[in-house]
Symmetry: C2
Subunit: 313 residues, 2 copies
């Protein structure tokens, strides 16, 4: 039971309140509690009914915890398959505590939140080059298998899921897709490809035209709203104007650096599982309670890969 | 010259600052000033170079001005081709000042901002039915011609532009597409189709699965950031929790109701013009400065129809 996403009746909404909670709930995937004895109908019900084996642990070295002023935590999962040099530099920057004291200084509506060193004067730590090689796409043969998505795509020949990540491809190679929450590395004009010190997160409609033009290095898996709800910048392209206060970044740490008691643990849904296939199919053709007319399909960025805090035993 | 959307160098950004400004700038369409003697290269340059005839006036009866507390104005253009009964009720509600004193009470990240009467007790004005007929799509023969979009679409067989609006279709009929900023009418489960009193605006990745399932009644043409940057609701599906303060709506007026001196005037780009065709083509295959690898195309929601305040002579 769900669907009352635009319900006028609060009483009805309360009666339908879900018994489960998920961290990375898709916009088009309202929470749902399954009725006993009924097969799962909604995407959320399919995820809730999946076995524990359908969830994969995310390595602590792939998790970055960015703490903004006011104890607002934005948690980023690093992308392991692409732009490896950028990801390695990001780990070095985190270990050097380089982002501590920097800020979120650009919010462009329906586009990106950007952070890093607004002074442009902070030297990079030794071993972190100011510009890295382009590593935006990878030959298919060098990658784990991709689960193909069946819907047409406007931006690329093919799309699919590679170990929990939405990807697009041309048949010979794959690259990560700029979906909501995706994190990329700022750069100047080519040949510059950025260092990984200046980062942005997508806070609007997926700007897929950026695919293969920028190093996509990760995604926000918790706390994206701490970025997306910040005041928009009054300057050109959403950069903060002189009268605006950038949001201070208190610290950025790899989860693996934190004391064990403070380490957050996350799991992502196995995109190679049967449960994910069922979930993706339902996302493509919503026919549960609220929906009357099912779409022909859904784009790769609408089929959000569920991510959750690892349940405690 | 543009493209420095992720520039690290502020000096460079400043040197490239645009000479023109546009109201409804697409995320993927950074501002651009054309260099003298050069043909327009960026989407923004194509729009800036278009003749005055490529801009169409928006009727004052199709413009709703919603003023939030703190003098924040959100301006909505009503959709004239679909859900006509909903649009008519919205005009009645505005004329009755029904929304004055209501609130924005739901913000769900990457999905919608919703407003109306959170108490659910405010009686509708006479002549405004609590539920209206479904009028979500229209036969092609009953509509003006659609300019087809050439990129594949994940959600529908075909897409295009109908007099300034992004639409999707099945060959026989067309319906409006849930793009960023789209405004729709909340409803409970069918057969309820809503009244037009409870409204939402899309503030995330286009939830196109809602197409044909909800009455899409308009779009925000100015001030969407006043909705998209509001604090996210802590309750189920982004409804505000008890500890949160909904944002008061001071007034909602049709532009045609306002004293002439206070009426805002807007124009939208003519999607049937040659300039729009050139702009859309460039949006599908970005090859200007910042871009190295052009995409295969762009989805209908990425090709934003430019809207501006009518220039004063």
């Amino acid at each position: 039971m769900e669907g009352m996403i635009f319900a006028r009746s609060r009483r009805l909404r309360r009666a339908l309140a879900p018994a489960i909670s998920m961290l990375f709930v898709s916009a088009a995937m309202p929470l749902g509690a399954q009725e006993p004895g009924k097969p799962p109908r909604t995407p959320a019900e399919i995820i809730a009914a999946a076995p524990a084996a359908a969830w994969l642990d995310i390595a602590p070295d792939d998790i970055m915890v960015m703490t903004l002023a006011g104890d607002r935590q934005v948690i980023i999962q690093l992308a392991p398959h692409f732009s490896k040099a950028h990801v390695a530099s990001m780990r070095s920057l985190a270990r050097a505590h380089w982002w501590d004291g920097t800020s979120v200084y650009r919010i462009q509506d329906n586009y990106v939140a950007q952070w890093g060193d607004v002074t442009e004067k902070k030297p990079l730590p030794q071993g972190v080059p100011p510009s890295l090689p382009e590593d935006y796409s990878q030959p298919a043969r060098a990658l784990p298998p991709v689960v193909p998505a069946t819907s047409a795509d406007a931006f690329a020949k093919v799309t699919g899921f590679l170990n929990g990540w939405p990807v697009a491809g041309d048949g010979a190679s794959w690259w990560p897709a700029h979906c909501y929450g995706a994190v990329g590395a700022g750069r100047n004009l080519k040949p510059d490809a950025g260092s990984g010190a200046e980062l942005y997160a997508v806070i609007g409609h997926a700007p897929r035209g950026l695919d293969r033009n920028i190093a996509l290095v990760g995604r926000v898996i918790e706390g994206i709203a701490f970025l997306s709800s910040l005041p928009r910048g009054t300057g050109t392209m959403g950069f903060y104007g002189k009268e605006q206060q950038p949001t201070p970044i208190v610290s950025v740490r790899l989860a693996s650096e934190l004391p064990p008691a403070e380490q957050p643990h996350f799991q992502m849904f196995d995109t190679g599982s049967k449960s994910f296939a069922a979930y993706a199919e339902r996302m493509r053709h919503r026919d549960d309670d609220f929906f009357t007319v099912a779409a022909e399909g859904a784009d790769i960025c609408s089929i959000r890969v569920p991510v959750r805090r690892t349940p405690t035993m």
